[in-house]
């Protein structure tokens, strides 16, 4: 197996087809990164919401407990 281009310049230009090839790859990579990042962001958002609710719940329990003492 050999590298088919004699220089990096040649690799970028691809005999005049560089613009087509690289833009196609770039678009595909961007879409794929977005596909992976999307659900990860969404998960961390849900986790934050759940954490906030849990904290609020414990605070409420706390204050309810103190109210019971008085």
């Amino acid at each position: 197996m050999i590298f088919r281009f004699d220089s990096f310049q040649h690799f970028l230009q691809m005999d005049g087809h560089g613009g087509y090839v690289w833009s196609a790859y770039l678009i595909a990579i961007l879409v794929m990164v977005w596909l992976v990042a999307g659900p990860l962001f969404r998960q961390s958002r849900v986790r934050q919401t759940v954490t906030r609710e849990l904290r609020r719940e414990t605070a409420r329990h706390h204050s309810a407990g103190e109210a019971g003492k008085e």
Binding site: R4, G18, Y20, V21, A24, A28, V31, L40
Partner: protein, 247 residues
């Protein structure tokens, strides 16, 4: 058998089991895609007729494969949800729609870019291309239906029916290059025949196709997991998962 079916239908079981497999799947996917990408871009020989623009095949064909295979996944999940009222199947159907739409979009855009140096135009109303555009609209239709009902059950039922009706389009896409011989070239790879490509060109394509299958599974699982967490956020097991910061 039935016990297994019920366990698989449990979102909690799916969430916890998939969490264990996820890092492995992600690693395998990343390595396959990286190897296929470098191989296809730099080491595969240039095409005698098309020159270097043919290298677009290494994303165009795998993306198109998965755009179609993803439709089966969505429609079958929809049918399972419709028949057995399985919650997890509905979530998989919902998760498959944006993923399939994105891959169809990639297939169409890379195809258009490839078309310019090869056919001299970005777009033609060729049978294959038009039926792929219909596929994109079907995916977008399911996504729209998911958001247009206040009741989750009604949304799932409507999306499942649409995805099953849309199955009609799939054989049309497969056969379009044979039925209407217009501009799009016939399939490069068929399961029933030896590939018409040179092995030096075919092997990186194979790596990319397997990589895209893994990528599809990875994103489908990620989407489904975030959907599970969102829908079950009030249940005690989700609270435990969040508290213990489990994957």
């Amino acid at each position: 058998m039935w016990q297994w079916f019920h366990r698989l239908g449990s979102p909690r079981w799916f969430y916890q089991t998939s969490g264990k497999w996820l890092p492995w799947l992600a690693g395998i996917t990343f390595v396959l895609l990286l190897v296929g990408l470098v191989w296809g871009l730099g080491f595969a020989p240039r095409d005698a007729k098309q020159g270097n623009s043919f290298r677009i095949i290494y994303i165009h064909v795998p993306a198109s494969f998965l755009a179609l295979a993803g439709y089966y996944v969505m429609a079958i999940a929809g049918a399972v949800g419709l028949i057995w009222k399985m919650k997890l199947a509905d979530m998989v159907m919902k998760s498959a729609a944006p993923l399939g739409a994105a891959l169809t979009f990639v297939a169409l855009v890379t195809g258009a870019i490839w078309g310019k140096p090869t056919w001299g135009t970005y777009w033609v109303w060729d049978a294959r291309i038009t039926s792929m555009l219909v596929l994109l609209f079907l995916y977008m239709g399911v996504m729209a239906l998911q958001h247009s009902y206040t009741s989750v059950d009604a949304a799932n039922k409507a999306s499942a029916v649409l995805s099953l009706v849309g199955m009609v389009n799939i054989p049309i896409i497969y056969k379009s290059v044979d039925w209407w011989y217009t501009l799009h070239q016939p399939a490069t790879i068929k399961f029933t025949e030896a590939p018409t490509m040179h092995p030096d060109m075919f092997h990186p394509l194979l790596v990319m196709i397997v990589g895209f299958y893994c990528f599809y599974a990875l994103v489908l699982i990620l989407n489904t997991r975030s959907e599970i967490l969102h829908r079950e956020r009030r249940s005690s097991w989700v609270k435990d998962v969040v508290l213990q910061n489990q994957r």
